[in-house]
Amino acid sequence: MKKLRLYYEEYNKKPYQLLWKHFVPQHFALFGLIILSVLLLLAVISPFISPHDPYQQNAELLLLAPSWQGSGLVSYPFGTDDLGRDLMSRLMLGASYSFGLAILAVCGSMLIGLLLGALAGMTRGVQSSIFNHLLDLALTIPSLLLAIVIVAVLGPGLLNTIWAIMLALLPQFIHGVGNAIQEQLKQDYVVAYRLDGANNWQILWSVVLPNLWEPLSLLFTMALSTAILDIAALGFLGLGAQAPTPEWGSMVADALDSIYLAPWTVALPGLLIFITVLSINLVGDGLHKAMKKRRGS
């Protein structure tokens, strides 16, 4: 049945609504988005809703089985780890470390990357060439190695790994933003603006930046999945989060000692990392497809 229209008017959907319209039919991507929102919510409110104190050790209930096994208790839904701490509370708090901090790191990196990328994209000639080649250098140092160097200088700890991740992601953002800006500058409407008399800054602000959010959001999702995997990897190696911080990667490393007795203590944090990264990739893919459809349609 046609929608009731009281009067004739052209009704065009806004770009965001169009995007959403193309995004929703992709069920997997939508599913990923829902999971991501749940995780984000957990990252923010977990200290208030976790069933037990994540740091509370309980000597009577070491390595308790999860509640779906016969020897488990419902009050400890995922069981306990080898010091008697409730696994579910730790996993929930871990969301704020592994996921929340990753988002913060990527946002920080993106902001700085935007600034520097604008510089890289808008300049030309020798300056730009030097800058780009310095960037190439930064791209060639593997992120883990960079993190190791930073940890060697600053010492291990979660905060230092955040700096390391930000530094490691920066070149990708600068590169991506620089390329995107270069592409924008070739467009006809930029020529039109220049003919109208706009200077570089005005072009950047009014024309280039609003068109950037598409490639930027794709870069964001890719960088986010890399950031989460890197934070987890560093935590696993013992260079990141230190005991007793319940970051997912370091939880896997701690639980390795009891892998034969309590494999769920290793499996569950790893599973959560996997689910998080999978959702991000699903959303990224869905976003990419939706953008293409929106442009093509």
């Binding site: 000597a59 080898d82 010091l83 005991a243 007793p244 000692d257 034969y260 007795l261």
Partner: protein
């Protein structure tokens, strides 16, 4: 036709896969692989006290004058056939065996069997400052901690097969000292050769001894390879090769055991003991062992120089928790440094257990009503006296938080850890000690004497002349009840002063593949593969 072919193909694939036996990781070679938890620091037991190094080198490469019977702790002849002690206890004379051959390797061929010269060479190294090899080592931790240079007057060769030790005062633990793993006998001929070739450091790096295995190669932090010593003087097992595979990570060690890449592994995770005992392809050996795991305070640093603070910290530790979480019930709570199976131990008035209220009170009295912050250094390796120092540190961290003290856990790679510990960088450390012989002096002196504070094995950096007096007096007499009373006084004093908090005496475990024969736990000292064999 295509479909049938497909079906036959997949069926045969499935059959082939299920029929695949797990291929053993080693082919052909009749060798044994022992998975060690750390690298050796050197190849000469004189230079170390670390159990890891002793396990990796001592009983394989070397013999001693005397051996300790693993069943009752008594002393048995080894390289020395017989011995006599003079009436005044100042002179010990040993008669040596005549059929002991040294190792032959790429870098040394012996021209003669063992004689008295080798024994004097070995022991004078730590005694005489002009001995050519005295300077090549930084320290001799065990011998320094028992004050070898002041204890022993001279070591001389009376005849080609008789050696005499002259002491400065009677010492009832002297024979036990000669039976420890540290008193390994070196080759004087090899020493002379090295001096000639100007390669003195090789005495400790490319070892020559008389033991059942010959050194073949060492890949740093990876493995040590030994070949069989065919001319060994004792009856020994049938192994052609012994490889010590260095696997610091506990889970990896167990994994290697399960996939048969390792035949023997020490100190399994206590939590998995039950699982391993239930499997028919592994044997778990256990023994009540003479060891102690403790929490030592660096008494040279404030506020640990105050007795009240140390007492308070001791009262804050919830030991039953640790027994359960770290030792899984396989250890005894320690009330003294000496374990209950030592003859100098007597159940005293047990010290006050877990009492956080009193702890807070004592802290206030000492002038720290708001607590303070400290470091707990946790060993990164598993030792039998402490299978999981990291976890123990976390438990103590939580206990201390309850009395207002903030603790930070510090750890490094094992050799780096020991080095920094030796430099006194720690506030407190979780470490321990296991016995080298049955004598109680072996526990008290290397851990808490003033000489040991200088040599480095006294982790509490505690030097108290009163305590030294107790243990010195105990050595003067061979009358056992008298010795025992001195040791009791020493233990009582320790309880009052509390330079360290004894935590547990643990049982010693070892897991081996069911194909391995002839390997049992040695309660005193390093693991021995002298009688080891492997059934195919």
């Amino acid at each position: 036709m295509n479909v049938t072919l497909c079906r036959i193909g997949s069926l045969s694939l499935v059959l082939w896969l299920t029929a695949c036996q797990p291929a053993p990781a080693t082919h052909g070679a009749n060798g044994l692989v022992y998975c060690a938890e750390g690298s050796p620091e050197t190849f000469n037991p004189q230079l170390v006290t670390s159990g890891t190094t002793i396990d990796a080198i001592s009983q394989h490469l070397y013999d001693r004058l005397l051996d300790i019977d693993p069943n009752d702790g008594s002393l048995k002849p080894a390289l020395a056939q017989s011995w006599q002690v003079s009436a005044d206890g100042l002179s010990y004379r040993f008669k040596l065996r005549s059929d002991v051959q040294f190792h032959q390797t790429k870098y040394f061929t012996p021209a003669r069997p063992l004689n008295a010269e080798d024994v004097t060479f070995t022991f004078n190294r730590m005694l005489l400052l002009d001995h050519p090899f005295f300077q090549t080592a930084i320290e001799y931790p065990y011998f320094d901690s028992i004050d070898w240079r002041h204890r022993v007057q001279s070591v001389t060769a009376v005849s080609p097969d008789e050696v005499e030790f002259k002491l400065n005062q009677p010492d009832s633990s002297f024979l036990s000292v000669l039976a420890t793993d540290f008193s390994a006998i070196l080759s004087a001929e090899y020493g002379a050769q090295l001096v000639q070739r100007n390669e003195k450091l090789n005495l400790d790096l490319l070892p020559i001894g008389t033991g059942p295995f010959v050194f073949r190669e060492y890949q740093k932090d990876v493995l040590i390879r030994y070949y069989r010593h065919t001319a060994y003087w004792r009856e020994h097992g049938s192994l052609t090769q012994l490889v010590v595979d260095i696997v610091p990570d506990n889970t990896k060690r167990l994994a290697k055991l399960l996939t048969q890449e390792c035949d023997v592994a020490p100190i399994p995770r206590l939590a998995e003991l039950e699982m391993l005992s239930n499997r028919s392809d592994f044997r778990v050996d256990q023994q009540t062992s003479m060891n102690v795991g403790f929490w030592a305070f660096n008494t040279q640093k404030a506020p640990f120089n105050q007795v009240k603070v140390r007492q308070a910290l001791a009262l804050a530790v919830n030991k039953p928790n640790i027994m359960q979480a770290v030792y899984f019930g396989q250890a005894e709570e320690a009330t003294s440094v000496l374990p209950p199976n030592s003859w100098a131990y007597r159940k005293q008035n047990a010290p006050e257990g877990f009492n956080p209220v009193k702890a807070r009170q004592l802290l206030e009295e000492a002038g720290y009503p708001n607590g303070f912050s400290l470091d707990i250094w946790a060993m990164p390796v598993q030792r039998m006296y402490n299978p999981n120092a990291q976890k123990m540190a976390e438990l103590i961290q939580a206990d201390l938080r309850a009395i207002g003290i903030k603790a930070r856990i510090v750890s490094y790679e094992w050799n780096t850890f020991r080095r920094k510990l030796g430099q006194g960088e720690h506030d407190s450390v979780l470490i321990g000690w296991s016995a080298d012989n049955a004598d109680p002096d072996n526990f008290l002196r290397p851990l808490l004497s003033c000489a040991a504070a200088v040599s480095g094995s006294n982790r509490a950096n505690w030097c108290d002349p009163q305590f030294d007096q107790f243990i010195a007096s105990a050595l003067q007499t061979t009358n056992v009840p008298q010795r025992r009373s001195y040791y009791l006084a020493a233990q009582q004093y320790l309880q009052e002063q509390m330079p360290l908090v004894p935590i547990a005496h643990s049982k010693r475990f070892q897991v081996k593949n069911h194909k391995v024969t002839g390997v049992s736990i040695n309660p005193y000292g390093g693991i021995s593969f002298v009688n080891a064999g492997k059934t195919p």
